[in-house]
Symmetry: C2
Subunit: 104 residues, 2 copies
């Protein structure tokens, strides 16, 4: 996992912030699989992720339509359902328009 090499803005970001439950059987392989799957989606631009007390995963997308397609991906829907019922104590999803970007 490194810093996402995104194109010049504008593009979209999905900020997914979560707190996991202690019981998270099957979480790690599913999370890995979702990263692989997302990367194959049309309009995917990159992803960044880290977890300490909270987990933050930011995925970057060409358009709102690309985000919608990923949200409705069949295998992703299964993961979302398991996340809601089994894995997450709490989460927030924020859909953002990236307007400016700068680097070191």
């Amino acid at each position: 996992m490194s810093i996402a090499d995104t194109p010049p803005p504008p593009y979209y970001a999905v900020i997914f912030t979560s707190i996991k439950k202690e019981e998270t059987e099957r979480y790690a392989p599913m999370a890995e699989k979702m990263v692989e799957l997302a990367a194959k989606q049309p309009g995917f631009l990159g992803m960044e992720s880290a977890r300490q007390e909270v987990g933050i995963t930011v995925s970057y997308w060409e358009s709102m339509y690309a985000i919608k397609l990923w949200k409705e991906n069949t295998e992703h829907l299964v993961a979302q359902k398991l996340g809601k019922t089994n894995w997450y104590e709490d989460y927030t999803v924020r859909i953002c328009l990236v307007q400016r970007e700068y680097h070191l």
Copy 2:
């Protein structure tokens, strides 16, 4: 650090993704101080942070003007300069308009 309790959108997010150098003397107390300072800035709405291979800090703001004021905060300018020269191997800052938000 928990999930930020932000108001209904629209509002702004600054996604700061970084890779630290190995040599990071004075980094931790400065990072803590910046979290405290940011929280006192006008227009601050919340912050989320985690670090593994990459560090991700997302701060939330009422307006672009609030982001500008924070960027120009005198003590923050000192920290930014030290970050550039001493602490970060690489970083990207993305300024975003949060358009939608949903929860567990």
